[in-house]
């Protein structure tokens, strides 16, 4: 597990405390009942603060799973952000 993935898992775990690390890796808005609009806003805020990035609100609807966030972070990093 990369350091970045570990930090992302920690972000998810803080918002969805019932999930294990394994479950978090495959989690999505569809699979987790607690992933409502409030949780989505909180998750985005936690990730923005943790990774010191600014997430464009227009990107938020696409960020609906752990994998989507991981890909998003990778893309941001490759752009040097």
């Amino acid at each position: 597990m990369s350091e970045e993935e570990g930090r992302l898992i920690r972000c998810f775990a803080s918002v969805f405390p019932g999930l294990t690390s394994e479950e978090i890796r495959t989690t999505s808005a569809e699979s987790v009942g607690a992933w409502d609009s409030l949780a989505a806003v909180t998750l985005a805020a936690v990730i923005q603060q943790e990774f010191k990035i600014d997430i464009d609100p227009l990107d938020l609807p696409e960020l609906d799973s752990f994998e989507a966030f991981r890909t998003y972070l990778r893309r941001r990093r490759s752009l040097g952000e």
Binding site: S14, V15, T42, Q49, E50, P57
Partner: protein, 579 residues
Amino acid sequence: MNLIDALEILKRPTSDAARDLNVFLACGFTPLHLQTFLAAELRVLLPGYRVEIRTGIFGDLIGNLERLDASGVNSLVVVVEWGDLDPRLAIRSLGGWRPANLPDIGESVSQTAYRLQRVLVQVSQLVPTVVCMPTLPLPPMFSTRPAQAGSSEMQIRYTSVSLTASLSRQPGIRIANAQLLDEISPLGGRLDVKSEVMTGFPYSLHHASALGGILASLAHIRSPKKGLITDLDDTLWAGILGEDGVDGISWHLERHTHMHGLYQQFVASLAGAGILIGVASKNHPAIVEQAFDRSDLHVSRNDIFPFEVHWSRKSESVAHILNTWNVGADSVVFIDDSPMEVAEVKAAFPELECVAFPKADYQGVWDLLKSLRDTFGKPFLTEDDLLRLHSIRDASAWRDVVQSHAESSDDFLKAAEATIVFDCSRQSGDVRAFELVNKTNQFNLNGKRFGESEWLSFFNDPAAFLLTASYEDKYGPLGKIAVIMGKVRGLKLYVNAWVMSCRAFSRRIEYQCLKQLFETLGPDEIVFEYEATPRNGPFRDFFAELLGAPPAPGACLSRDLFAMKAPPLFHQVKGTVNV
């Protein structure tokens, strides 16, 4: 605190023994992360509590307060923003910023402030209330350049400040201090425009965290420390008295020792607020006497008691002072410029807060004063705060007299010309009574502490009573020194709390209190919710002597037994009864 840290704190399990702390967070915006930070800060401050935060309806701050059912709410936290005073002052509203709108906005702010004041005064009588007035910048709606404060803007700010000043005088309200918030959350970094527009939550995470911390510290009452023990040389003044002489010590701008003058001024302000000040100095007593004769000193010898001036170890001085004050080391701060002395005292009293005075460090002294203000600050000053030093001095003299004339204490008590004023009521608004019950250790029936909401709800029961006693004799007043609270059930009186200040020992006030209960409330029997604590030995000894047996929970005292056991009482008694 970062948001992820706050969320992780909230994930921690609470113990089964944890007590519930129900907080209502009233605000007009989406509470979102402020709620998270507030809950996390409260969990950190109050690890023995299960924190539950409820919130109201978006955009209706005053309605949320008017609809509040205070039963079951332990603390109310109210966060006001400009948009609550008039929606046109918030980003999400498009009600018009034309210059022609400004007089109407000013008038609307004024009317809303009036409504807010009325509802806050009402609700704060039912539940302890913390209020934070607007923290965000006003929008760029005024016709002046940002560098210029125009009259419309000033009128809006004036209304807000007037409301704050008025609310700060209410005993049930604590106001979040804008100055502290300015220090830890600079104005320019508070507003998160994107978050406000997208979610209705206007704060940056940093600001929400800072505000959550301040609000939590106000929602949780912390007992301030009671006393300060200070060194003299290179601490209260610059210079070594024994070497530089009385005229050689200084605290003056021209000698570059002004920070010692500030420290003196600060110590005097603590003394004026009822904080006990003692001196522990390795010096000749006579020369210290002369130093305190200097008229330019900013702290008087009357502000200080006792003086421990000799060449013995500082820890011995501290022990004498703690004994004279009759307070625990954990309630006191010791300040000395010598790291060695600080270490010696700390080793002897690990629970004592020991601070090295940062001599020749201007910013260090300033920071020390700020830190001490946090340590000793209290929500309100009571009349008893102003009497405390005098009464400690008096109590010490009393102990000496009584110990040296034990065989004739009746004569001394008679000659003291003591007066006790009792007040028996069902009123919960006695700040001094609340404070005494929550800080007295030795003469304490059971060590029970009351939260503010618990205190308020206790007196909602029509059977409840509160008896307080204020004492004065020819040596001076001690102020309000005893509190008994309980409930009347037929011919039985149930006492749930009984405390008496240690300053009032040896005067038979405790017997007069019982006599007053029998005479005023007329029970045949008083039942005491007694419980032994590690520190209530003086109460246990008194009670054992009275009952003729070691006390136990639910111990009873009959009218007849009391009449048989009570010693002669010489106080003049005055009283008011409102139950």
